[in-house]
């Protein structure tokens, strides 16, 4: 973007104050009261959140009967890894992981390719048809045909029992599109557009060369939202997939869980006894959370760095 003589005039006020990223961290005397309040509040919040998380962890390798009768509080009781053994002894789980990663990565890529340009085009106030288009988009967040017509449509498109059913129908999330549009509208200074026009950049060029690099925060958020959406998608597999090897992780985990749940008295379920099944099921219930979310936990810190690059900073560097 070196060619862009884009003058980055901050859009609101204080244009004449030189940028200094250290000043923001400068402590004013008297701020320490506020500091203490903030830290105490955050410590409280973290504590309230951490305990139940910790509980999930210890419950995943404690005796499940002890867990549900409230005998597990701070430390695990009757430690055993039966739940995890069960989960990982099932070869389907690796297929599930693989499938989910493929669906999530391909799906998110398509989501971004479709959502970002649309969101940007619809963020332009001079593009008059946008209100109608946005209304028609928003409408679909509320009014849906339901399961049966969707099933018929997918059948006609040959999407039944096909991996693309995880990717194509959800290519646009209107919710995410509106969030992205709102970001473009409020965070990209209009001056940049003017400058880009003066430089002779086309609209596409402006979007790709200037807007996208300044939008790392929203791209990170959108990517996260979409990725997690794909990762947790369980319903699609449930309804539209009839082949074991195409099932995503969530479905595999669900099946392992169900396979171990009490078969009510055995009717219609092989007349199997309740005991060994139920014991594992409760444990698996907790273990499954850890198995399925562990990969997502590393995702966030990775994305977080994009949140620290503000629009202005990016533009100046550009």
């Amino acid at each position: 973007m070196s060619s862009a003589s884009v003058s980055v005039a901050p859009k609101k006020s204080g244009a004449d104050i030189p940028f200094n990223k250290h000043v923001a961290q400068h402590r004013e005397p008297g701020d320490w009261v506020a500091d203490i309040v903030i830290w105490v509040l955050l410590a409280l919040i973290v504590a309230v959140v951490v305990y139940p998380l910790w509980f999930v962890v210890i419950a995943s390798f404690s005796n499940p009967a002890m867990v549900s009768t409230g005998k597990v509080t701070i430390l695990p009781v009757d430690i055993n890894f039966g739940g995890y053994e069960k989960v990982f002894s099932d070869s389907r789980i690796w297929i599930g992981y693989k499938n989910t990663i493929v669906y999530s990565v391909v799906g998110t890529a398509l989501n971004m390719i479709v959502t970002l340009p649309a969101a940007f085009a619809l963020s332009r106030v001079d593009f008059k048809p946008r209100r109608v288009i946005l209304f028609l988009f928003t409408f679909t967040m509320y009014f849906a045909g339901g399961l049966i017509p969707s099933y018929l449509l997918y059948k006609d498109l040959n999407l039944l029992d096909n991996m693309w059913v995880f990717i194509l129908p959800g290519a646009v999330s209107v919710w995410n599109l509106i969030i992205a549009r709102s970001f473009f509208e409020t965070s990209i200074p209009e001056e940049l557009h003017d400058a880009a026009q003066i430089d002779g950049l086309s609209f596409f060029g402006y979007f790709l060369r200037i807007v996208i690099p300044l939008s790392s925060a929203i791209i990170a958020v959108l990517g996260l939202y979409y990725f997690v959406g794909h990762w947790n998608d369980y319903f699609t597999g449930l309804i539209y997939i009839r082949t074991d090897t195409k099932q995503p992780l969530q479905m595999v985990l669900q099946n392992i869980l169900l396979a171990n749940q009490t078969q009510q008295g055995g009717a219609g379920n092989g007349g199997q006894s309740a005991l060994q099944q139920q014991q594992l099921a409760d444990q698996i219930k907790y273990g499954v959370i850890i198995v399925s979310t562990a990969p997502l936990l590393i995702l966030y810190p990775f994305l977080q760095k994009y949140f620290n690059k503000g629009v202005m900073i990016g533009a100046v560097k550009g």
């Binding site: 901050p10 859009k11 609101k12 006020s13 204080g14 940028f19 990223k21 000043v23 400068h26 004013e28 008297g30 506020a34 500091d35 903030i38 955050l42 919040i45 973290v46 951490v50 139940p52 998380l53 549900s68 509080t73 390719i113 479709v114 649309a118 085009a121 106030v125 946008r130 109608v132 028609l136 988009f137 928003t138 409408f139 509320y142 009014f143 849906a144 045909g145 339901g146 049966i148 017509p149 969707s150 129908p169 290519a171 969030i179 709102s182 970001f183 409020t186 209009e190 979007f207 925060a217 958020v221 959370i289 399925s292 979310t293 936990l297 977080q304 949140f307 503000g310 629009v311 202005m312």
Partner: protein
């Protein structure tokens, strides 16, 4: 946004091209269309893939909505059943359950809406006050994790924690579980929702805060602004448009509650407070496959939600110049 539109218009005005605009409006529509395409084909092209997907996967199946007005006969398909008009809507409105499930639904969703709207904003503002990137990352990661816990486990934990006498929280509330009290279902639902999703929902605000114009802080500080003033005059205005957009969209879920969660929270004692539209529909659908009835209730639900969205959008457009469409 409208404010920008006005600003843009005035700029155009100042640049002296106002005549062109006026002249363009006077042109016959084929020429206006040609002008529009010439100037905006790139906009259209960028929006097109999304429009195609939305059309195929959202609009094509939408004919299924007529199920609410027809008797569903599986062998005749969705459109073959006899047209019965408002029969199923009337059935719902005159059902003895109607007022009960409406009250419960509104109670549960309204509280969730208010708390679920405010809490993430507060959390984001708090987290934004931390200067250390590491601490910030730690707090964010911790608070967003509960989002991934399945509903089944959340409700199981609620049960365990609220067990009378022995539970972590239950020991403070006497001999019966709070969950058995129909009046406590809603507050328990609200708080657990906030607990679970607050961190996740704060992400979008944190992203918005990351775009704060740093020079604004400088200016404010030079003017002698303290911590609270910075939050009030810089941070909050920055995230305000995002807040408003999310509020509008949340208003569109005024009659929506997490169905699975309420269903799991239900027990024989708390039913008077925990039977909501979604669980009622589920029982109807599950027990007797009354698709038409379930679709009608769903459609009624949707209409109310959408009406609230339109209303919120309209008010917001008037008051704050921010709107979805």
């Amino acid at each position: 946004m409208a404010v920008k539109e006005k600003a843009a218009a005035s700029v155009v005005d100042a640049a002296g091209v106002v005549d062109n605009t006026a002249a363009r409006k006077a042109l016959p529509w084929p020429k206006r269309l040609a002008w529009h395409i010439q100037h905006y084909w790139q906009h259209w092209l960028m929006a097109l893939p999304a429009m195609v997907f939305v059309f195929i996967f959202a609009y094509i199946p939408m004919y299924g909505i007529q199920l609410a007005f027809r008797d569903f006969v599986p062998s005749k398909g969705l459109t073959g059943g006899q047209w019965v008009g408002m029969k199923y809507f009337n059935q719902f409105f005159t059902s003895p359950m109607f007022s009960k499930v409406m009250v419960n639904t509104i109670k549960i969703s309204l509280g969730t809406l208010v708390l679920g709207f405010i809490a993430p904003i507060v959390l984001a503002l708090l987290i934004n006050q931390i200067h250390s990137t590491k601490v910030k990352g730690f707090v964010q990661t911790i608070t967003y994790m509960p989002h991934f816990i399945s509903t089944v486990v959340i409700v199981a934990m609620l049960n365990i924690f609220l067990t009378p006498n022995t539970g972590l929280l239950g020991r403070f509330f006497g001999g019966t579980s709070l969950l058995d009290n129909p009046d406590m279902v809603a507050p328990i639902y609200w708080l657990s929702e906030v607990w679970q999703h607050c961190g996740w929902n704060a992400i979008i605000y944190l992203a918005a805060l990351s775009s704060v114009d740093v020079s604004l802080y400088e200016a404010a500080k030079i003017d002698g602004a303290g911590r609270m003033q910075l939050i009030r005059y810089v941070d909050i205005p920055t995230i305000m448009p995002t807040c408003v957009i999310l509020l509008i969209m949340n208003m569109g879920s005024i009659l929506s509650v997490g169905f699975e969660k309420v269903l799991l929270m239900q027990n024989a004692m708390n039913l008077p407070g925990s039977q909501v539209i979604a669980t009622y529909t589920y029982m109807i659908g599950l027990k007797s496959f009354q698709f038409s009835y379930a679709t009608a209730i769903g459609l009624f639900n949707t209409l109310i939600n959408f009406a609230f969205l339109i209303l919120a959008n309209w008010i917001s457009k008037r008051v704050s110049d921010t709107s979805i469409f």
